[in-house]
Structures are given as structure tokens and as C-alpha cells.
């Protein structure tokens, strides 16, 4: 059984138990965050709507565990998972989702714009494909500033239809930029199957620019992590850019309000993925089989995380909205050095 599971995850246990358990916990944290967010929506406590990451946890965690805080990511409309995986805390995240002042963006961004500068998350983006330039530019900057930072650009299969991607792939390839394009192929863009909106092959599209492309099972956190570790190390040495296509699945509708979705996606398909390819269940099983943790250990993690999430929700619900005078703050940022220089000038 253990051998089979190991074969299935495609990676031998070579990290240590601590690494494994952290990855497991991070996936559980994302799932718990989304369950709470969905509840907030269903109980009409969430302003607007949001896109659930549940089902895709192994992608965000497998990749972000291969990065340091100095490495950057750009995220998408379906961005809670990336945010958690890159190190964010529940409280500031829920505050943001509810538009509270203690949110990561002081309530101004909300679910679709959550950013966490301190951990290198340059932000979610509500323009599909909108962050492809940003990620590539962060990689250019990393190179110009002489650092070895790597940037990962997350996007969905649907985003591959945006012309911007091809423009920046070309430049990334010409200039060997340390950027990894990570396409989470969950089979759908909104209410449309990927096959109906993507001709040819995604990996071939990257390869046409001379970019090394990989496909990996996005439900297998160890496989994702192992591949990413390798590519990140190579990107740091100037061997990038790279493209990864990760096969994955979203458990919920396109957004929390997309409940009746049988017209575009069969219930059976959903059940199949959830029961046989769940990234958390499968990794948990492997952890117990390998003796890294007992089922009780895992249950304890689950309970702990759930309690954390609930406490964070309660905190966020009670937290204050930003004061009205913040409405026209942050349109521009100050330029203190410029202002000092201007003050130092002889009067014209």
C-alpha cells in the first residue's frame, strides 16, 4: 500500500516529517478558510462574492513551499489558497474579505485583490491574466537588482487565452528571467470546458518560445513540490523561465453563487474527483501509511485549524470597518524624498 501510494504521489519521502506536516497543515488551512468563506457567503455576511480554491490546495502549497518569503507570487481571482500558502494569517484575510480596516488591504481590496506584501504575495487580480506582466516584471526587477529571487505567476487554464501571456513569455525567454508560469488547469473557465476554448496544447505554446514546459498532477502535493523545488533552484541560476501545467479541479462552482451548474458540469465528475483525487485525503493517507503521522495526529491538525479559522471569522465579524476618511486615502502614496528635494530647491 505504502509503495503504491508512493508511486502514486510520484515522489519518495525525502523531506523530513516536519516539512510534510507543514504542507499537510497548509492544505488543511486553505480548505478550512474556504469552508468558512463559503459559509459567510451562504449566510449573507460576505459583501459581494468570491471564488473558492477548494480542491486545488496541492498546487498552491506544493509550489509555495518551494519558495522563500523573498520570492514573489502573483495570484488570481481564485486567490485565497495562494495567499494562505505564501504565509498569510487568517485574521487579516477574513477582515479583508469582510471589508474591515484590519484586513490586509484595509478592506479596500477584498477577496479579489488580497495582497500580502510581507510574504511576497503581490496580490490577487480580478483581470484574468492581468498579473502575467506583473510577475514577469518582478522577475526582471529581481535580475536587475542582482538578487536571486524567483517569481511564480499563478493563473488558470482560461487565462491562457489572454494575449498578454505570449508577449511576456517571449520576453522572459529572450532575457532568461527567473519566472515560473504555473497554469492551474482545473478544466473550466467559468461555465465553459477548457477543451472548448483552448486549441492545440498548452505546453507546446510555452515550448514554442523556447520555454521548458512540464506537466504534473496538481492533486499530488509532493510531486508538485518536488518539481517546483528543482525548477526554482534552476531559475535562481538563470536557467529559467519555466512553464508548469498542473491538472487540478475546483470543487465549488465558478464562484460561491454558482450553485446550479449541471448544465456545464456533471455531478458525477465532481464526485469522482472529490472521492478519488482529493489532495488532502490522499496525502493524509500517505502520511499515515508512511508512519509520518497517525490518523489522530491528522484529526488534531484538522480540529486545531478549524478552531483557528472560526476564531478568525468571529474576530473579523466583530472588527471595525475603516473610518469614512479612508475613502480617499491611498489613491496616491507620498514621495518623501522627492518632497525634501523640492523643498531644498532655490525658489524659482
Amino acid at each position: 500500500m505504502a509503495a503504491k501510494a508512493a508511486a502514486k504521489t510520484g515522489a519518495k519521502p525525502k523531506g523530513n516529517a516536519e516539512d510534510y506536516l507543514r504542507m499537510y497543515r497548509q492544505m488543511v488551512r486553505i480548505r478550512a478558510f474556504e469552508d468558512q468563506a463559503n459559509q459567510l457567503y451562504l449566510s449573507a455576511k460576505m459583501p459581494g462574492l468570491t471564488h473558492m480554491y477548494s480542491g486545488q490546495e496541492a498546487v498552491a502549497v506544493g509550489i509555495c513551499e518551494a519558495l522563500t518569503d523573498d520570492d514573489k507570487i502573483t495570484s488570481t481571482h481564485r486567490g485565497h489558497g495562494h495567499c494562505v500558502a505564501k504565509g498569510a494569517e487568517f485574521k487579516a484575510m477574513f477582515c479583508e474579505l469582510l471589508g474591515k480596516a484590519e484586513g490586509y488591504c484595509r478592506g479596500k481590496g477584498g477577496s479579489m485583490h488580497i495582497a500580502d506584501q510581507s510574504h511576497g504575495n503581490l496580490g490577487a487580480n480580478a483581470i484574468v491574466g492581468g498579473s502575467m506582466g506583473i510577475a514577469t516584471g518582478a522577475a526582471l526587477s529581481a535580475k536587475l537588482r542582482g538578487t536571486d529571487e524567483v517569481t511564480v505567476c499563478f493563473f488558470g487554464d482560461g487565462a491562457t487565452a489572454q494575449g498578454l501571456w505570449y508577449e511576456v513569455m517571449n520576453m522572459a525567454a529572450l532575457w532568461k528571467l527567473p519566472v515560473i508560469y504555473a497554469c492551474e488547469n482545473n478544466g473550466y473557465s467559468e461555465y465553459t470546458k477548457t477543451a472548448e476554448i483552448a486549441a492545440g496544447s498548452l505546453t507546446a505554446r510555452a515550448e514554442a518560445f523556447g520555454i521548458e514546459a512540464h506537466k504534473v498532477d496538481g492533486q499530488d502535493v509532493l510531486a508538485v513540490n518536488e518539481l517546483t523545488q528543482k525548477l526554482v533552484a534552476r531559475a535562481r541560476k538563470g536557467e529559467g523561465p519555466f512553464f508548469i501545467e498542473l491538472a487540478t479541479y475546483r470543487y465549488h462552482g465558478h464562484h460561491v453563487g454558482d450553485i446550479n451548474r449541471e448544465y456545464y458540469r456533471a455531478k458525477d465528475e465532481e464526485t469522482e474527483w472529490k472521492s478519488t483525487r482529493d489532495p488532502i485525503l490522499n496525502f493524509g493517507k500517505w502520511l499515515t501509511e508512511q508512519g509520518v503521522a497517525s490518523e489522530d495526529d491528522l484529526a488534531a491538525i484538522g480540529a486545531e485549524v478549524k478552531a483557528d479559522a472560526e476564531a478568525a471569522v468571529a474576530y473579523a465579524e466583530a472588527a471595525a470597518y475603516p473610518p469614512e476618511n479612508e475613502v480617499d486615502m491611498h489613491v496616491y502614496v507620498d514621495s518623501p524624498e522627492l518632497n525634501a528635494a523640492l523643498r531644498g530647491q532655490p525658489a524659482a
Binding site: 459583501p47 459581494g48 471589508g99 474591515k100 488591504c105 484595509r106 478592506g107 479596500k108 481590496g109 477584498g110 479579489m112 485583490h113 487580480n125 480580478a126 483581470i127 484574468v128 491574466g129 492581468g130 482560461g158 487565462a159 487565452a161 489572454q162 494575449g163 473557465s189 467559468e190 461555465y191 465553459t192 472548448e196 476554448i197 483552448a198 448544465y263 456545464y264 470597518y321 475603516p322 469614512e324 479612508e326 475613502v327 480617499d328 489613491v331
Partner: protein, 331 residues
Amino acid sequence: MREITLSKAVNEAIAEEMRRDPNVFLIGEDVAEAGTPFKVLAGLVDEFGTERVIDTPISEPGFVGMAVGAALTGSRPIVDLMFGDFIFLVMDQLCNQAAKACYMSGGKLNVPMVLRTNLGATRRSAAQHSQSLHALVAHIPGLKVAMPSSAYEAKGLMKTAIRDNNPVVIFEDKLMYQDKAPVPEEEFLITFGKANIKREGTDITLIATSSMVQVAEKAADLLAKDGISAEVIDPRTIVPLDEETILNSVRKTSRAIVIDEGHQSYGITGEIASRITEKAFYHLDAPVLRMGAMDVPVPFSPALEDLTVPTPEGVADRARAAVRGELFHAA
């Protein structure tokens, strides 16, 4: 008269025109089976098939460019742009290509296409899904710009847009899709460039577009309680703009406020206010006032977002000040 939602009105308009003219087709993201996320186009694919109701990949510049090419060669495309905010992505195809083809060819080419999209904040959709960007396209010669303010207007303006031989951009208010209004069963069109006097009045003219027409009407109700009689004018199209109706009204009332949901600065209120001032200056008893959305990206937090758009109370306050001659010190 029967009442239908704005959503249904748009759907009917498109269905009627697609029945009438086989060259009309629809193209955009999730327009077919899904009928758009707002469900406005639901059912059209059943009647017209996937040949004429075309789901695209997420390639806004691409399919807008294709619509231009199709319009140049005998088709009459209606492009669905899911959110008005995405208009930034298609500006080149819309403004460098569609808007200019007729002029650049000395009138030999023309682009009969409709771009339907939306505007409107307070849906808690944050800065990239809440903008009202009609000023940008109104600035570009060669485009016409329609701004329906009710189900009735949405139907009539859409039908006219589809039959116009020029590129037309229609901005629907996405918060109004479920609002009902009386709409005749019989076919009708609405002339572009002919404003609608929604309500007659004598003391002040409120010129309002799209979502702001309701705000102006509610403000007029508030003002009526104070004995102030406000005239409410809906220009319907901002390009072409019906100056005459607006000027006649202001010459009568001697005061005006222009209300719009786009950002106030460098938006459409300045243009309309300036035209009034230029052409009715000696009739004015007070400066023409403007109320647009605040000059800030739309914030997500409900506590902040609602502060950014004009409200009936806000409009009524300014109108009172104008009528009572309280603007002297400000000016």
C-alpha cells in the same frame, strides 16, 4: 402595459433583431449556454444556435478585433463585454480600429457593430469590476455611446444600436438588471441624440445618465417636498448629445446639476456642464454643478464604497443650495 426587467428587455431586443436580420450575431464569453453571468442572454442560444451565439475564450482584444473585421465584411456583430472594466483591454481595437475605419477610408468602410457592456458600483465588486468608463469612449470620435436608464430605454436603445451602421457602445447599469419597467409588446426604436425629459420642472434642471437617472428622480421627489420643482433630463446617448433639449430646459430653470456615475474629474459632467455654460451663460442664476463618482478607485469595503457615488440626498442638498443662491461664497 406589461412590466419586464431590464435584463429581459435587452434579451428581447437582441432576439427581435436577430430574427429580423440574419447578419446579426452575438459573440462573447459565456454568452451561449450560460447566457452571461448576469443571465441577460439566457435562452438566445436555444433559438439561434451556437453559430450565431458564440462563446469565446477569454480574449477580449481578440474577439473585439474579430467583430470589427466581421462588421467590415457584411456581418453585424453584437459583442458582449462581461464587465465595463474590461474595456481597457479592448481600447485599441475599439478606438484605433472600429472608431476610425470609416473616416480613414474616406467613408468607404464602415463598422456596424455594437459593444454591450456595463457600469455601476456598490455591488461590492471592488476596483476592477465596478467602474463606469463611458467617458473614455465618449471622447473618441467615430463611436456612439448609449446609456439606458430603464428597461424601456435598454430595449429601444439596443434595437437602434444594432441597426445603426456605426460602432455603438452601450453601457447597461449592472445593478438594474432586475429592475422592472413598462415596456410595450410592440416593436419600437429610440432615436439616438434625443434626450428624454423624465420629469418636468421649473426651478432647476437635473441632467443624469444611466444609473443616476433614478437618483435624480428621487432627488426631485425630495426637492418637491421643499417646494422646489426639478426637471429631470436623461440624455439617453452621450454621443450624439442632445444639446437642444438640455439648453432649452436650463434656459427655463436657470440652474443645472449634471449627475453621472463615472469619476467626476475629466469625465462627462465637465463636458455637459461646459456646453451649458457656453451656450446658456446669460440665463444662468448659479454655476452649473457637477456630481460624479469620487476620484478614487472603487473600494471594496461597503463602508467606503457607498460614499463614492452620488445619492438622492446629496443631489437634493446641492440643488437646494443652487436654488437658494447659497453658492455665491463657494464661487
